[in-house]
Symmetry: C2
Subunit: 228 residues, 2 copies
């Protein structure tokens, strides 16, 4: 899954400068990763400094932006979102897969997959695209759930802003496996290895007033993450 090859995007700002052996050059791997991960971190310049906030997101490969659309949403009143509209933002999605306990401090590392998308954030104004993006954000959390919910009210939609970032300028890095230790540290007989990490779900917790069984979509999400 890791190799030196064509970067995902031809632009300088998403060409990986360091750790080129960890570059993932297959756009399908990027798409698969973004379909699976749960949280992004969006970076926006606010005044003279960057602000980085966690965000739910979703991807529509058939979206109208170059390379497909990455969607973010937020309150129309949020400061980061107002600064993001029309500006270049960076959305980074990372999943931590392990801790690499090398034989030296220098070679300690983490196993991870991380995608970086840089692009101009477009305020989505078309109502059909907005509705589709919001459904995708819900389905990113619990696949299939959006179709089971009542339509959003006009008031709810008016309170929500949706941003689209083109997937065109993207890079992805990944690290997997054990430490890359110095030969002399290996020869010295020191222990080295790695600790795999994964995210697991507990049983679904119904709200106090919830009636009936856990819906199939939520149960499937729990099963999917329980299997790791």
């Amino acid at each position: 899954m890791v190799g030196v090859s064509t970067p995902l995007s031809p632009t300088a700002r998403t060409t990986v400068q360091r750790g080129r052996h960890r570059v993932v050059s297959d756009r399908e791997v990027l798409h698969g990763f973004l379909a699976e991960a749960l949280v992004g971190h969006v970076g926006v310049v606010v005044g003279d400094h960057p602000v980085v906030l966690p965000c739910a997101y979703a991807v529509d490969l058939a979206g109208p932006d170059e390379g497909g659309s990455l969607y973010l949403h937020g309150s129309v009143a949020s400061v980061w979102l107002r600064h993001a509209i029309g500006s270049t933002v960076c959305v980074t999605v990372t999943e931590l897969d392990g801790l690499v306990a090398a034989r030296s401090a220098f070679n300690h590392s983490m196993n991870y997959r991380s995608a970086v998308v840089i692009g101009r954030a477009r305020l989505v104004e078309d109502e059909a695209e907005r509705a589709r993006a919001l459904d995708l954000v819900v389905d990113q959390m619990v696949p299939g759930r959006a179709a089971t919910l009542r339509p959003s009210t006009r008031k709810e939609l008016a309170a929500t802003a949706v941003l689209a970032v083109p997937l065109h300028e993207a890079s992805m890095k990944a690290r997997a496996g054990g430490p890359g230790d110095e030969p002399e540290d290996v020869a010295a007989g020191t222990w080295g290895g790695h600790v795999p990490l994964r995210r697991v779900a507990g049983e679904a917790v119904p709200a106090p007033e919830a009636k009936g069984p856990v819906p199939a979509d939520v149960a499937a999400r729990v099963r999917g993450l329980a299997g790791g």
Copy 2:
């Protein structure tokens, strides 16, 4: 753990604007969270746009910066790091704790803890502080491990840059529990609830040439994360 109260920092840029009911106002909670989490996302302005990258980090509450020091490290050749030195950066640390499957799309949410630290990144030049910071970064991954490793070589230290960001300007938000649904959606009898998520460790995987048992520090890390 969540309440409306004094923000952690008196400055405007780390005063939470939205979702004030999710603000964590206790600095000890911030410190405990930063001691426990594993990955940060650092935002740096590079030219005219933000770049957000995942990073290992560590905190020294007794560090020389106001409020204590948050340390990052990287290759001296890395582009983000060279842009960060002397600039204002944002380091955001997030742990995802659950998916909130509400009765409406609008009330879908995630349970999480997230700390945002904004400050000027200082290049750490004092050798004792550099060594201590790098030990702390290793111990953040596997507590107690730094003391078991050989000292870093001059070449390793020369290849590594350490940055310190003051912990003074920080905010923290957290969400826990089930959905905050509209009364009419509850009354309609729709199911709502949440799915707890946690990070777990698998068994330590020794490198092919590793000799002897898994060290106590690594074994303790696995046990700690296995327990959730």
